[in-house]
């Protein structure tokens, strides 16, 4: 077993009080090993996104513990959380969340600059990443001039900017058409191949099929877990049913 980069124990998240109490995440325990890809699936409102926000320190848990690279995320202050997000975590959102006024390269540079890297280093890293996601020729384009798939690839490149221990992706293909979904699936597959740790929340069984492990959630709790050891590599397109 590889080193564990992310661990939760009896994680809980509740919203509201009394009659309005909503248990979004219920006693979730999870371990994610380095270089592992974990897909979390479940119906809308089952608590997938909330779990991802808890893992990334965007939400505070109501109970239980979270560790990322040995740091107890649930006990960190705002500044320490921000530092953790800069150095150890990369986010990919369903809605891309690119900054409209910045070019693709400048969007990818953003986390590196936030981490205090020099502008030269940030630029070099952004250029490398855009080449890696196949968008070197779109580096100076603004988001409005990019297709949905291209925007999501820029967002993935941005998530990788500071070489995070784990990339947390929230419905990364949720806003994309079939062709764009395939682009992103290929990109995630290449990330997995390079040993990037990934936690992907998705509705899409095709993207879940690319994972090492598939966890099903319902009503805030894990209800099933399946290990998909290497079944998808090399036959992604056919499996996903997007080619031909």
């Amino acid at each position: 077993m590889s080193e564990c980069v992310l661990r939760t124990r009896d994680l809980r998240k509740e919203f509201g009080k009394g009659d309005a109490l909503v248990r979004a995440v219920v006693e979730v325990s999870l371990e994610v090993a380095a270089a592992e890809t974990v897909a979390i699936m479940g119906p809308s409102g089952c608590g997938k996104s909330t779990l991802l926000h808890l893992l990334g320190g965007l939400e505070r848990p109501s109970g239980g513990s979270i560790e990322v690279a040995g740091s107890a995320v649930d006990r960190l202050g705002e500044r320490a959380l921000a530092k953790l997000r800069r150095t150890a975590i990369g986010f990919v959102f369903q809605a891309f969340h690119l900054i409209d006024e910045l070019t693709a390269r400048e969007n990818v540079e953003l986390p590196a600059l936030l981490a205090g890297r020099s502008p030269r280093v940030a630029r070099r890293r952004a250029t490398e990443l855009l080449e890696r996601v196949g968008l070197a020729d779109r580096a100076s384009f603004r988001p409005a001039a990019l297709s949905g798939g291209q925007r999501q690839r820029v967002a993935v490149a941005r998530a990788l900017s500071n070489e995070p221990l784990v990339v947390l992706a929230d419905e990364p293909t949720g806003n994309l058409d079939s062709a764009a979904t395939l682009e992103v699936l290929r990109l995630f597959d290449s990330l997995r191949a390079t040993g990037q740790t990934l936690v992907i929340v998705t509705h899409d069984s095709r993207i879940a099929a690319t994972a090492d492990r598939l966890i099903s959630m319902r009503d805030g709790a894990f209800v099933d877990e399946t290990r998909l050891t290497g079944g998808t590599r090399g036959s992604l397109g056919a499996l996903a049913g997007l080619e031909g």
Binding site: E59, A82, I99, L110, P111
Partner: protein, 601 residues
């Protein structure tokens, strides 16, 4: 370095991406900087022209006057007197020109140059039999020039020339230092004496001409002296009486000279205060509006590891950069406009000291501009820093839930536009408060202008229609400040309308999807603004009257008619409501489904 680059890059791109908003913020803060610059560099601007005129006219350090020539001449025997002129006979006279009747103090002079107080002729020639010289500011107000005919106590004279002097304050402040016209010191006027109306001005004539018109009001005598130490003049005036005469020192005359710009400065000071209030509201609305637009960006920056400080710093940096640019523009504008407002008037010669931008002035203006930006941006910046990352990424609003049950119950009985408008206004109580404050400031300034004109017109009547340069200058300054305030208020109203429309875009789209018409939504925006502005308008009218009373020190305030005040208040309220429709119409252009789909993204 990297973070600085990021903050700078985002701030610059954001400014470039929103030129209209940037221009409006520049206008709001620039107005503060310009008016403050004007107020600061106008201080003491009359000192230079007064000194120049004093030198050119051999201005006196002490002026003595009284009905007994030998008593008045006693001033020349005081210790420290180095030179003197007089006694000059003078009398009060009723003046008639082709257009006006007024009052003059006519002083007798000889053709030879006086050792002290030799008025400097600026047009025409010095006195001659039948030819009189008018003090220039007085002549300007009367609209007479060299060669014109006037009558003094029914006797005809020709205007031989115009001159300035520092022995008396220029029109209309002649009696500010004690002119002894119509006072108890003069002998009782003759039974057939003409009426003396309005503020007097100085006229110089030959001694014989003065005596020829003195039968109605008698003679008075004036002696001017210079002192070895002019600084002792005030001590002599205020010390124990050593001679039977009224004494005036040069500092009193200088102060009376400065009255020409004193009111102007008061107007600018009060105006600066009001403009600062409005600018604060403008920038706060702008910053708040940007926050609404940038909610997701805040979420993204936080998700990518940006600290709350960085998020707040970004918003602050943007507005502080705008404030710096606005301060520069305001300093330049104030410096360019200052010479116009600092003109010493026709009563003095020379030009005011070139308005100089000292380090102190630059520092104060910069501090004020940055202070306005900081104060107005601080709350939105702190709110941005504290926003939950998840809420920001979802761009959801929490404060929309502040509507109260009672309000909802009340609004259900209202027509649709009022129903939505009332809920829109109640949704953001702080924004409604800013609208109310902005409207109150506007109404206050408009009311002050109306009261000023009403009071000034009363003064004009008592002046027999002769133009009063102080009132003219005050009117110009007040008009300029009020115009600037109204421009800022319009900007505020448009800002508020825009922010409200952007903020309510989703709920408006939903309301339309449920059957409301675009017209009803626009009317609702107007109603929301009108509801928030109403208390401001109601408070602004008495505040404007009180402000005028406090700032003008006027003995008598003439209020405009209640109808005019009500019309002005109604006009302001209508304008504020109507101005909300312009940005609302622009924001409403997007398709309903587009807005509702964006909510899902």
């Amino acid at each position: 370095m990297g973070r600085l680059l990021l903050v700078g890059r985002l701030a610059v791109r954001d400014i470039r991406h929103r030129p209209a908003e940037t221009a409006l913020a520049l206008l709001a803060i620039g107005a503060v900087a310009a008016v403050l610059t004007l107020g600061l560099i106008l201080h003491g601007v009359t000192a230079n022209p007064y000194q120049a005129t004093r030198t050119a006219t051999k201005g006196p350090d002490l002026v003595a006057q009284g009905p007994d020539a030998s008593q008045v001449a006693g001033v020349t025997r005081l210790a420290g007197v180095t030179a003197s002129s007089g006694p000059f006979a003078s009398t009060a006279a009723s003046l008639s020109t082709a257009r006006y009747t007024g009052t003059a103090m006519v002083q007798g002079r000889t053709g030879t140059e006086a050792a002290v107080d030799q008025p400097s002729v600026t047009a025409g020639a010095w006195v001659r039999p039948g030819g009189v010289v008018l003090e220039r500011a007085f002549a300007t107000s009367l609209g007479v020039g060299v060669g014109d005919r006037i009558t003094l106590n029914y006797k005809h004279f020709t205007v031989a020339g115009l001159a300035v002097s520092t022995a008396w304050p220029p029109y209309p402040e002649l009696c500010e230092t004690g002119c002894m016209i119509g006072g108890p010191e003069l002998s009782a006027p003759a039974a057939n004496a003409p009426d003396l109306n309005g503020r007097p001005g100085v006229i110089w004539a030959t001694e014989s001409d003065v005596r020829s018109i003195s039968s109605y009001f008698g003679l008075n005598y004036v002696v001017n002296v210079t002192l070895k130490d002019p600084a002792q003049a005030a001590a002599i005036v205020n010390g124990p009486a050593r001679i039977q005469a009224n004494l005036t020192d040069w500092e009193d005359i200088s102060t009376a000279d400065a009255l020409l710009v004193t009111d102007e400065q008061t107007v600018l000071q009060v105006g600066t205060f009001l403009i600062v209030l409005l600018a604060l509201a403008s920038v706060a609305l702008l910053a708040g509006g940007r926050m609404i637009e940038q909610t997701r960006r805040v979420g993204l920056l936080k998700a990518a590891g940006g600290t709350p400080d960085l998020v707040a710093g970004l918003l602050l940096a943007e507005h502080l950069a705008i404030a710096l640019a606005a301060a520069g523009a305001g300093l330049l504008a104030g410096w360019l406009i200052a010479p116009v407002l600092s003109s010493p008037g026709a009563g003095l010669i020379g030009t005011p000291s070139a308005p100089s931008l000292t380090l102190g002035v630059v520092g104060l203006v910069l501090a004020a501009a940055l202070g306005v930006a900081l104060l107005a941006t601080l709350v939105p910046a702190i709110r941005a820093a504290r926003t939950s990352t998840v809420s920001a990424l979802a761009a959801t609003s929490s404060s929309g839930a502040r509507r109260r049950k009672r309000l909802i119950a009340l609004s259900t009985r209202l027509p649709v536009p009022l129903l939505i408008g009332l809920r829109l206004a109640a949704r953001r109580p702080r924004r409604s408060l800013l609208t109310m404050a902005s409207t109150a400031v506007t109404t206050t300034s408009v009311t002050a202008v109306l009261v000023f004109h009403s009071t000034a017109s009363l003064s004009y009547v008592s002046q027999q229609g002769i133009a009063n340069p102080i009132i003219q200058r005050d009117s110009e300054a007040l008009f300029a400040v009020a115009a600037l305030l109204i421009v800022l208020a319009v900007v505020n109203a448009v800002f508020t309308g825009w922010v409200t429309a952007v903020d309510a875009r989703r709920s408006s789209a939903l309301t339309q999807a449920l059957g409301a018409t675009p017209r009803q939504l626009l009317q609702a925006q107007a109603a929301a603004q009108g509801i928030a502005a109403l208390p401001g308008v109601i408070a602004g009218v008495p505040l404007g009257i009180a402000l005028f009373g406090a700032a003008s020190h006027a003995h008598t305030i003439s209020l405009p008619s209640a109808g005019l005040l009500a019309l002005a208040a109604l006009g302001i309220l209508t304008a504020v409501a109507a101005l909300a429709v312009v940005p609302a119409r622009a924001v409403a252009r997007g398709s309903i489904s587009g807005v509702l789909q964006a909510e899902l993204a």
